[in-house]
């Protein structure tokens, strides 16, 4: 087959410079590894919108001026910002997940998977960071502009939607892109609770093959490439939203 001959040539070439990719020719480990990439990409694709939407909601609560909304979110933001994500994930999976299992009458009835917990914990963690960035952006909107909008008859929600958020989003975009780059890297915590993202899959392979360096190189290139794309997209959006004559 054409395909496998290219693969074999590649394996042979890499072997010559001391890198071991022999497992790619096997069915089983190659599949695990490939699925690891897919799972990581899938996590990232889900986590970016989840973190942005949750961040928006958190920021709206933080700046609502209503303690019953802002106080719980403020508490959550402080906890998630100041404690290790790995610990949050372990806690969620080992404590909250067990609690849910007991609630629904056994682990077999619990619909929440490790994958879900990674999305929830990492997504809300990054959302907390987004929220802080957006909150700062919202608070930077001059109070006189908000009052002028109020004076016209805009409701508080409309002011947030049409005035504060568009300006805050522009101001906080660099911070948000930074958070997203962290998010991409943070997906690797999934391996602590056996979500078979790329680092977990790689560990499975290299414990068999003893080819840590070979896999590590690919993992590093993989994450670098994703984050270069994220950063580029960020710059593109920034340019797209740039307002002529305005300092943002």
């Amino acid at each position: 087959m054409q395909d496998s001959s290219i693969l074999n040539t590649f394996i042979a070439m890499m072997d010559r410079i001391g890198l071991n990719y022999e497992f790619l020719a096997t069915g089983y480990e190659a599949t695990i590894w490939r699925d690891g990439f897919i799972t990581t990409l899938y996590l990232i694709a889900l986590l970016i919108p989840v973190s942005l939407v949750a961040g928006l909601v958190f920021a709206a609560c933080l700046t609502s001026g209503r303690p019953f909304l802002s106080a719980p979110v403020r508490g959550f933001v402080e906890i998630t910002r100041n404690t290790p994500t790995l610990v949050q994930l372990m806690f969620s999976f080992l404590v909250l997940n067990t609690f849910v299992s007991n609630l629904v009458g056994g682990a077999q009835n619990n619909p929440l998977t490790p994958f879900f917990w990674v999305v929830a914990v990492v997504g809300l963690h990054i959302a907390a960071l987004h929220a802080e960035a957006m909150r700062a952006g919202i608070e930077a909107v001059p109070s006189s502009m908000v009052e002028a909008a109020r004076g016209m008859g805009f409701s508080q929600w409309q002011i947030l939607r049409h005035v504060e958020l568009p300006l805050a989003f522009r101001a906080s975009l660099p911070a948000i892109v930074n958070n997203l780059i962290n998010l991409v890297k943070l997906t690797t915590v999934g391996n602590a609770i056996a979500v078979s993202e790329i680092t977990y899959a790689s560990i499975m392979v290299w414990t068999q093959r003893d080819n840590v360096v070979s896999l590590m190189i690919v993992i590093l290139v993989f994450f670098s490439a994703i984050n270069i794309v994220v950063a580029r997209l960020g710059i593109w959006v920034e340019r797209k939203l740039a307002v002529p004559g305005y300092g943002l």
Partner: protein, 272 residues
Amino acid sequence: MTVSPDNAMTTTDGKAQDHIVKLEDIHLSFGQTQVLKGVNLTVNKGDAVSIIGPSGSGKSTLLRCINALAMPQRGRITVNGTRVDQLTKESERIELRKRVGIVFQQYNLFPHLTVLDNIVLPPTKILGVNRAAAEKLARELLDKVRLSDKANSYPGQLSGGQQQRVAIARALAMKPELVLFDEVTSALDPETVGEVLQVIRDLVRDGMTSILVTHEMRFAEEISDTVVFTENGLIVDHGSPEQIFHTSTNPRIRQFVGGLGARGTVRDGEGI
């Protein structure tokens, strides 16, 4: 037009039905600071009323009371039949604000929207007007404030005077029953003051009820039906422009009016 500085309103001209704004014994404090100490003011439909007075005398607060951006602790405010002081719900206050335009010293245009969209946004989002109708009105208003060629510019690309004219157009897009102007030329370069005053002059001429806080004495004299002098949270005197600017015997008013005149803040709408 009748203004009563000290007690409840009395109308001398028998045109009580023409009241569009009536403030009665307005008291307002921020914490310990008493800002309004019993203000009475009546504005008739179609009139232009200028409020002059030293900084900190409560002029802005007075205007903000009229469209419920500030709520007095005591007194009655009536705007075209609506008891503003009794509006406790934000939704009711929004209903009022739709009818009362206000323009501030800082133009406060939305910097991320084009000039056209700045004017289209309020009627579409607040009144539910459809985009096409709102845009048609916006273009008419831009024509009126002589900025048709700037429809697609962003506020940051305009001079202060141009931004302020857009802000006035934006207020008018809500088709308000009256417009409040709070020192709308105070932040402008001298050379752009005239173009903004000209827009207001046109509005007043067209019969828009206007209440203006201003330091432009000659302008106030020219366009006002009534001039009100405030000091220390009270309306000290009121009357025709002639009375306030020329024949007042009140030493504070004479000093204030003379002082501003001497400082040369009087500018006119020429050169537009």
